[in-house]
Every structure is written in C-alpha cells, then in structure tokens.
C-alpha cells in the first residue's frame, strides 16, 4: 500500500532521514519505532506532504490500485488521495464544537463559497447530511464518547461542547475520530496513546483492533514497546534516520541491533 524508496531529508547538516526504504502491506498495522530523533515524525511529515524530501520516492496505492508517486505532492492532494493523519500534538479546532470538528472531516463540499447561500449548490442532500450525523454518532460510540454522563441526551450535549473545554484524553479521542472520519485508505497515527491514562490507552488499543478487523491499513509511531508489539503485525525500527530492522514483533523483540539502539551497549 505504501512504499518508501531511498528517502532522504536533511535539516542543515543533520540527516533526519537517511536513505530510508520500507513497505507497508495492506490491511496490516505497522509500528514505526525508534529512539527520540530517529526520524519517525519526519517520515510522517514527508509522507503527508508537510515536508519536501531531498531525494527518494514515496509510492502509494489505494486499495489495490496502481501505485502513484506522491513524493512532494501538496498536503491537500495527499489527503484527498486517501491518507489520513493524527498528529503527535493535539491539533483540534479549539473554538469549534465536537460535532463541528468531526463534520469538517466528513464534509468535502464545505469549501464551496456559494454553498453558504444556496444549500443545493453543495451537492449534499438532506439524506447525505443525515448520514453525516449518523457517522458522527457511530464514531462517538466507537470511541466511547456517545453517552457522556450516562445518557443519550448527555451524548447530544457532548457534541455541542467546545473542543477547548475537553479533557486531554477526550481531545485525543476526538482527534483520533477526526482522522478516522476523514475519508481514507491509509491511516497514519503519530503516538496515539502518548500522555493518556492507562484505561484510555486500553480503549485506544481496542479501537485500533476494531479498525484492523474492518480492514484498515495503519502505520503508527509509538514509544511504548509493549503497546506497539501487542497491536502491530509488522514493526519498522529506525535509528538516526535509517531502517535498522523490519519484521514481525517477535523477531524485533530479540533483535540485538534493536536492543542496542534502545538500551545502548
């Protein structure tokens, strides 16, 4: 589904990504791990178009289609080709409600100016809009936020809470929901469980398992080894911008090169 070939990226004199190559198979969860500064987030930024590469190729094929070279395409184009992303730092629209945050991910017609005056121009029928609402409700159910306060009305009220008033854990879940609702074939999650309580960590693990069962392809960055090994089918290990190992979690666990990279000599 995603093939990275000889990718390079430097910042000044520092090589953040050094001749990096690996492949992500369809309908798998792949963990991208490595010590701090090993280039994980830089690779995410290169794939999602936030950074331009120095050289190398990124090939993406959506659901069995032909591979497309997406190297250095714009952020918007990459998203519209079917790559959705969660950031390490929370990037919610803080002055919008939970519902508005999620609706922005689903509704692709909202950037048409005339739609502000002529609803028909949106090409979004009432039926479609109802489906959007259903999707939002389903997503809130999936992440366990559909009935805040223990009731359906609590859930409806929750949709109207401003994002800035949410707890950190709730923000993380809403941001994860937004990434999932954004139409995609490939999901990139940058440390989805960083800084969340153990219970929420388990919840996010469950969500990722449900997504995998639904046939999603996921690439995730994770520092928590136990979490990464438990959930992933494949693991790619980076050190100083290079891939030092790739394989099944069991193989990676006992790889001396990986242990050295993490624990030193």
């Amino acid at each position: 589904m995603l093939k990275i070939e000889n990718l390079n990226k430097s910042f000044g004199g520092i090589k953040a990504v050094d001749n990096c190559s690996f492949e992500i198979k369809e309908k798998t969860i792949t963990a991208l791990i490595g010590p701090n500064g090993s280039g994980k987030t830089t690779i995410f930024n290169l794939v999602s178009g936030i950074l331009k590469s120095d050289s190398g190729k990124i090939i993406f094929s959506a659901s069995g289609g032909d591979g497309k070279d997406i190297t250095d395409k714009s952020i918007e184009d990459i998203s519209n080709l079917g790559i959705s992303r969660l950031f390490q730092q929370t990037r919610l629209f803080n002055n919008l409600t939970v519902r508005e945050n999620l609706l922005l991910a689903i509704d692709n017609e909202d950037t048409k100016f005339l739609s502000a005056f002529v609803p028909q121009y949106r090409g979004t029928s009432a039926d479609k809009r109802n489906k959007f609402e259903e999707k939002i409700q389903e997503m809130l159910e999936l992440v366990g936020l559909s009935a805040q306060g223990g009731s359906a009305s609590g859930g409806a009220k929750f949709q109207n809470v401003l994002a800035r008033d949410l707890s950190y854990g709730q923000k993380r879940l809403i941001e994860l929901s937004r990434a999932i609702l954004n139409p995609h074939n490939f999901l990139m999650l940058d440390e989805p469980v960083s800084g969340v309580a153990p219970r929420l960590r388990e919840k996010i693990k469950e969500i990722l398992i449900v997504l995998k069962e639904k046939g999603e392809t996921i690439l995730l960055i994770e520092h928590d080894m136990n979490f990464a090994f438990k959930i992933s089918d494949d693991v790619v290990v980076l050190e100083k911008g290079r891939v030092i190992a790739q394989g099944k979690p069991e193989e990676i666990k006992n790889n001396p090169r990986v242990l050295e990279a993490y624990l030193g000599n």
């Binding site: 999602s48 936030i50 714009s74 952020i75 918007e76 998203s79 519209n80 959705s84 992303r85 950031f87 990037r91 919610l92 629209f93 803080n94 002055n95 919008l96 508005e100 945050n101 609706l103 922005l104 991910a105 509704d107 692709n108 909202d110 950037t111 048409k112 100016f113 739609s115 502000a116 005056f117 949106r122 800035r164 937004r178 954004n182 139409p183």
Partner: protein, 290 residues
C-alpha cells in the same frame, strides 16, 4: 442642528460598522491579522469617486468599488498566503502603505494631495440622496445587508472551515481542504465590503484625499473589532456604535479642535490597551486565541 449632528454621527456609525464587520470576517473568523483593510476602503472610495466624476451612475460606481477592492483582496492573498500573525500583519501593513503612496503620487489619476472634490451625491432609480437623513437610510440599509450576508457566511459550514483555519490551518489542510482558496475568499469578501464602505464615504463627504486613508483611520476599526470581541458580529455592531459616539462629548467640554482629534485617538488606544489586558476576548468575543 443637534439632529443633523446626530444623523452625521449615525452615518459614520454605519460606515464604521460595515468596515468593522468586514474586517471581522478576515480577522476574527479566519484569523488573518489584516492591517491592509484601510487600503481596500481607499481603493473602493477612489474607484467610486473616479467613476462618478466620469459620469457613471451610482449603482455602477458602488458595485465597482466593491468588486475592485475585492480584486485587490484576491491579489493580496497570493503573496501573503504562507504568512501568519505578525508577519502577515507587517505584509498587509506594507500593502496599505503602497496603496496610500499610489493615491498620493499618481496625481494624473487621483490628483494626489489635492484630492477629488465634487463627488456627486448618490442617486438610485431617480431618487437623489441629497439630504443627510436619506443618506442615513441608505447607509443603514447597506450596513444591514452587509451584516446579514456576513452573518450567513459565518454561520454556514463554509464559515466553519474559515474558523477551523483560524484555529489550526495545518489540521484543515490535512483534512484535504484548500486553505489558500478559503483564505483568498475571506480576504476578497472582506475587501468587497470595505470597498463599498469606501464608496459610501466618498459619496457622503463628496471629497476624498489620501489623508482619509492612513493607518490612523484603521485604529478605530481594529479597536471596534477587538473591543466588540473577535468572531462576534453582534459585538462588532455594538462596539461600532459605542466607539464612534464615545469621544463626541469631548467636543462639548470646551477643548479646542486641535486637542479633540488626538484625544479621540488616545481614547481608542487606551480602550484597546485596557481591553487587551483585562478582557482579552472583548465584550462579546467567543474565541480564545492561542
């Protein structure tokens, strides 16, 4: 006499309300700290005045003022697309200086500091708005329509995308939305309404010169937007009324006119400072800026 004075003030309230509501769309809703707003007002005033002096009917001058300013808005959006915050403020400020310099120095077109006198009073369908009362109704009607259009935009899903850009532009782009297009719309529409405010001003005063479009004229507009509250249209209108009327009592306590002018600017600046320190969201503001 007092009523004529009050009508004059209400006309100014209307013009400032249009300018401020337009700036609110770019600044409060889309997060574009646009200090070039006064340049759009200037472009609209000059386009309308020049066309009217060339004999074109008011409706044509009025619409051309809006459309001309809007084109400048789109134009400004291109080089400033990647700029944010202070950098955007400086770039747009530079744009307002450029427009001011053109108005001052392109004497063949604008007559430079001599200004353009004799701009005709507006007329629509044979009715000439020669009296100030009729002009007040025209201004209030334009202000109301401008308010309703911007209200419609900001409360639509399109408006929510603009607000999302204000809150986190990168996250909007990652959702596959073209933020350059959206910001251009916001700046263009904002410029359109500033342009028609400029047209109203030119046809009301019947004389314009570059000194009406300096940075000093922008301070009250920014003060209205911030004191009313970012992303609040209601707050903007209330602040427009209060801030235009607030310095007026200075005229009646015997200060010479050489003091009244600077004192007015000082009041705006002081109010702005106090609000930013003690009530950063303004009176009706909904948003908290990062």
């Amino acid at each position: 006499m007092i009523s004529a004075y009050l009508i004059h003030l209400l006309i100014l309230v209307g013009i400032y309300a249009i300018l401020a509501v337009a700036l609110q769309l770019a600044m409060g809703f889309t997060g574009l700290l646009n200090l070039g707003h006064i340049a759009f007002y200037c472009v609209g005033a000059y386009i309308s005045a020049l066309l009217a002096l060339a004999g074109w009917p008011f409706w044509f001058c009025f619409l051309s003022a809006g459309i001309g300013a809007m084109l400048f808005g789109f134009l400004l959006a291109i080089p400033t697309n990647k700029l944010k915050g202070d950098y955007l403020a400086l770039a747009t400020l530079g744009f307002s200086f450029v427009i001011y310099a053109v108005a001052l120095n392109w004497t063949g077109l604008t007559r430079g500091p001599l200004g353009l006198p004799g701009i005709p009073k507006p007329s629509l369908f044979g009715f000439v708005f020669s009296g100030n009362l009729s002009f007040l109704f025209l201004t209030l009607a334009v202000a109301l329509i401008s308010y309703l259009i911007i209200k419609k935009i900001t409360s639509s899903q399109f408006g929510k995308v603009l607000e999302a850009i204000r809150d986190n532009e990168l996250a909007v782009r990652v959702l596959g939305k073209n933020t350059f297009k959206m910001k251009s719309y916001a700046l263009g529409i904002s410029a359109f309404f500033a342009g028609i405010a400029g047209s109203l001003y030119a046809h009301y005063i019947t004389f314009i010169d570059p000194s009406s479009f300096t940075l000093l004229q922008l301070i009250p507009v920014i003060a209205i937007v911030i004191i009313g509250g970012l992303a609040s249209l209601k707050g903007t209108v209330i602040a427009a009324v209060v801030l235009v009327l607030l310095p007026e009592p200075l005229r009646f306590i015997g200060f010479p006119s050489s003091i009244v002018g600077p004192a007015r600017q000082m009041i705006y600046a002081l109010l702005l400072l106090l609000i930013l320190v003690y009530k950063p969201k303004g009176f009706y503001g909904k948003i908290e800026l990062e």
